[in-house]
Symmetry: C2
Subunit: 224 residues, 2 copies
DNA sequence: GTGCCTCTCACCCGTTCGGGGGAAAATCGC
DNA sequence: GCGATTTTCCCCCGAACGGGTGAGAGGCAC
């Protein structure tokens, strides 16, 4: 699986005169919402039709308004961005959703893209990049800025964890010993150690502490 | 050390007609800067005199413009917010700086306040809270919204780590064994174990993995 | 079927880790 | 100077951990 890098130039798509790209903005930070709305309204041929501060409201507003583009933050209270994307795309497979995240947590990028997001932007990008990505996605493509495509591919090249390995990892981060992980997952301690061995080699670490740090660093497991 | 909660009502301070509260906005995320600027400009008696996207530029601009208020993000590339606050306050002890952070990482709150920030805001706060805090700090007080004061006090009640303990903790998070930590800090392995014992009890964990997770969770040590 | 992967479990063995003590310097505030 | 804190080091010891190796059961693909 490789992500393409067809980054579009600004204004590549001329929309019909009189109509605008209708955007739904979803972010839990009020000043960020103000910024995104101002940014979009300042662009010719673009308008904000609604704002939401969580995933649940975003789903409602999508159903109601059918915007052309959704600009979706990932980490939000309640229903997060990834889940909201899944719900929206299930009902509306043609929904065009662009993920906008603070972190370059590769695991979240991956989950969002697999859930059907068309593009992924980081908040440290310029307003030009953001605007041109909206135009590009509206024009129909899965538009990714080069830097993001690189990160996605880097993530894709990383070794995948199995479901069970993830379970062990989560349990480990809760501070449990091998014995406790075993009983919480209803398997033997030897099996836990077996999973840990493959886990260490996949994450390129040599002990549980390294595994915990690496998992948190890459957003494989969320704490907080 | 206890932080007071004298949260001010909006518009508590009437500034002289004709003059405005001159604000410097510092944040590395372009859309967030747009939002903060729009938010401030929309408030009567407030204006943005400049924007910066990193600590270094913020320091330059403060020297040049002497704004009434600095709205400062903490996590930025290059010189971070805490260091920028320290530099500015050293030259200008009367500088009024408000920290604006995405995370409620208690350790960063604490460092920023100890470096001389007058108040601390989180990005999930409303534009009303942000505006009224700017007015309050301009009026002269150290204004903290109640929720933030709570978090600060919670942090203050937590047990303090000594410098050496912090060194050991950082080294631990780099994935080092006790022996490696010892040689990297030029002390004996027994000393490392001794520090770890007190570290575990202060952080209320029982092993190095728990210590690593807890340190990252509370922002005591930054990864990434 | 044959292969591949995942999940499960087992045994051995050396190392590391963490808890329990104790204690001597150095630093700092009062 | 005196007490508190910090930093340094030491000992003992059992439990936990991690590496090596092997292997059976189940699922899926070709």
């Amino acid at each position: 699986m490789t992500f393409e890098t067809e980054f579009t130039a600004p204004n590549m798509q001329q929309h019909p005169p009189g109509t605008s790209i209708r955007v739904l903005v979803v972010d839990d930070h009020p000043p960020m919402r103000v910024g995104l709305v101002a940014l979009i309204r300042s662009q010719p041929g673009m308008d904000v039709v609604a704002e939401a501060s969580d995933g649940e409201r975003a789903i409602e507003l999508y159903d109601e308004l059918r915007p052309d583009i959704v600009l979706m933050d990932l980490r939000m209270p309640g229903i997060g961005g990834v889940e909201a994307i899944q719900v929206i795309r299930k009902k509306h497979p043609d929904a065009r959703i662009i993920v906008l995240s603070t972190y370059d947590l590769d695991e979240d990028i991956h989950r969002a893209m697999q859930s059907g997001a068309r593009s992924y932007l980081l908040k440290d990008m310029s307003i030009e990049e953001i605007a041109s990505t909206i135009r590009g996605v509206f024009a129909g493509g899965a538009v990714l800025p080069p830097s993001v495509a690189d990160r996605l591919n880097e993530r894709a090249e990383r070794e995948q964890l199995t479901e069970r390995e993830r379970d062990v990892l989560e349990s480990l981060i809760k501070g449990r010993s091998n014995k406790e992980i075993a009983s919480s997952l209803c398997i033997s301690e030897d099996t836990v150690k077996s999973h840990l061995k493959t886990l260490f080699s996949k994450l390129h670490v040599r002990d549980r502490t390294g595994a915990a740090v690496e998992a948190i660093r890459h957003g494989i497991v969320h704490i907080k």
